[in-house]
């Protein structure tokens, strides 16, 4: 592997089953897709084996808007490892996406004291190694009414 991989000292995804790789590939392509149930139309995240609304088993990887609003958050000041601690304090966000499901990632581009539950946010992407891209959130302009 490349030097970049050995230098990235934070956790990378492990044990991802091949059935869930389309999500990670969509991050790499910077066009996130999540599963959508063919039967009831629910968006599912994190990836599921069956739809947790109607129990249908026909799920299709579907592009999403990438926009949502902050449901809850925390500011991590005591991180899990030294590599994460270098970044601390950082904001972890649970976001209700416009499609009605929640996602978790870091929220960047805003100071901890300026974070407000309900604020509009959007997905951005970060290539952390040649193999893996992660998503983040950043503040978004308020939706046009």
């Amino acid at each position: 592997m490349t030097t970049a991989t050995t230098e990235y000292r934070k956790f990378l995804p492990e044990g991802i089953p091949s059935s869930q790789m389309p999500f990670w590939e969509s991050l790499k392509a910077k066009a996130v897709k999540v599963q959508r149930c063919d039967n009831c139309g629910a968006f599912l995240y994190i990836p599921k084996d069956i739809c947790n609304k109607c129990h249908g088993d026909q799920l299709t990887w579907t592009p999403i808007s990438g926009r949502g609003e902050l449901y809850t958050y925390t500011v991590v000041r005591r991180a899990p490892t030294p590599a994460y601690q270098e970044e601390a304090p950082y904001i972890l966000a649970h976001v209700t996406m416009d499609e009605g499901f929640r996602m978790i990632a870091k929220l960047k581009g805003v100071a901890p004291e300026d974070v407000r539950i309900g604020m509009p946010v959007q997905i951005t992407y970060e290539d952390v190694t040649p193999d893996w891209t992660l998503m983040d959130f950043e503040p978004a302009p308020a939706a046009a009414s």
């Binding site: 449901y71 809850t72 925390t74 899990p80 996602m103």
Partner: protein
């Protein structure tokens, strides 16, 4: 036979909680077993049932602890089962033990928990190693972003505050009440540090907003064990008032925190409590003392709400002014709980043992007067699995 309430906790034992890294784990495990049997007045050789793990071992000894125990006791173990509900495993294990006794599958059932020695991962005496290990429990869709066990609960607390106006000072009341209990318990990990105030909690270092250091459980080692037998047998031993499980219920809801509607209210906790109260045929007002999973202060507040001791959103005012203290409306985690007594392994065993001591009227300076009924809500993960029990002095 056949009623869970026909079984009773007859013996309990706990080590001093703290750093046991200098002692091999099996030695601590056996100390707990001997201690619980001695407390009950039962010979170690009378054990014929086991719930959960045996002393640490490798290969088959780890996978199948009952045969390993049987070869040392010199007779077959007649019942073994285990569950994986994290800290809630003890309450869930008590149900399995009571089931075995009530159905004649075993007469003396042991549940033991020992965390000691040069353990790796979550059982390590090294805080940094334990924190890093536990951070990865949540799975790759969370841990890549640097989540921790604290951040898991912090996001719940933040949402609860947003929806209901719960304050850091209200959460701090829980830690203050529990620390006082720990100062009255000689085996506690933090009691020697003395009492703390609400101001101490809210001015302690922030770990993950809005949870401060003193909102968080200890990371330590320690051991404890209980033995369960029939109520009649326990009574005939004449050592202590038998403590029976009058009601029991479980609720399991999710792993992925995105998969539940709300992060401030847990239907699974409600299901567990409803089942337990229904089986016992008692009401919330009948409960004298409680043990509620307290990895973080918010866990107690949400646990009391979801179990129905107050309306949703009113947990903050319930715990205010010492509501969970020894003299409050519902004394909770009176030994200090995970926050101040011990958070080691399947630490729900310590919560359970404290309730047993309360119901025996053997809790010393922590005694809740005339305690006859207790509520236990044991939590696994970040509110993902719940096991609720009603315990009674019988």
């Amino acid at each position: 036979m056949g009623r869970l309430a026909d079984a009773a906790v007859a013996g309990v034992y706990q080590t001093k909680q703290g750093d046991l890294s200098a002692r091999p784990q099996p030695g601590v495990w056996w100390e707990c077993v001997r201690g619980a049997c001695e407390d009950a007045g039962i010979a170690v050789g009378d054990i014929d049932g086991l719930i959960g793990d045996g002393p640490s071992g490798v290969g088959l000894r780890d996978m199948m602890p009952a045969p390993g125990l049987a070869e040392l006791l010199g007779h077959p173990i007649r019942f073994h089962s285990r569950n994986y509900v994290g800290a809630g495993a003890t309450a869930a294990g008590l149900n399995l033990a009571a089931y075995a006794v009530a159905h004649g599958l075993a007469e003396v059932v042991l549940i033991a928990n020992a965390v000691a020695g040069q353990a790796e991962g979550y059982a390590s005496a090294n805080r940094d190693e334990a924190v890093a290990h536990m951070a990865k429990l949540s799975g790759p869709y969370e841990y890549v972003y640097g989540t921790t066990r604290v951040s898991d609960y912090a996001t719940l607390a933040m949402r609860h505050m947003h929806e209901y106006g719960t304050t850091s000072e209200q959460l701090a009341e829980i830690a203050v009440a529990q620390r006082h209990g720990a100062t009255l318990h000689p085996l506690s990990v933090h009691g020697h540090r003395g009492d703390i105030t609400v101001d101490d909690v809210v001015s302690s270092r922030m770990i993950a907003d809005p949870l401060h250091l003193l909102d968080c459980c200890s990371i330590n080692q320690g051991g404890g064990a209980i033995v369960v037998t029939s109520v009649d047998h326990a009574r005939s031993l004449g050592r202590h008032a038998p403590v029976a499980m009058l009601g029991y219920g479980e609720g399991h809801s999710h792993i992925d925190p995105n998969a539940v509607e709300s992060l401030s209210e847990y239907p699974a906790a409600k299901v567990a409590a409803e089942t337990a109260f229904g089986m016992a045929g008692v009401s919330r007002d009948d409960i004298d003392v409680a043990g509620v999973g307290d990895h973080f202060t918010i866990g107690v507040l949400m646990g009391l709400e979801d179990a129905g001791f107050c309306a949703k959103g009113e947990g903050g005012s319930f715990v205010e002014k010492g509501g969970t203290s020894l003299t409050g409306r519902l004394p909770t985690n009176t030994s200090g709980g995970f926050l101040s007594f011990s958070h080691a392994g399947i630490c729900g065993i310590f919560t359970l043992i404290e309730l047993v001591e309360q119901l025996r009227h053997e809790a010393g300076a922590r005694q809740v007067q005339d305690a006859t009924l207790a509520f236990l809500n044991a939590v696994g993960g970040a509110q993902q699995a719940h096991a609720a029990a009603i315990l009674g002095r019988v």
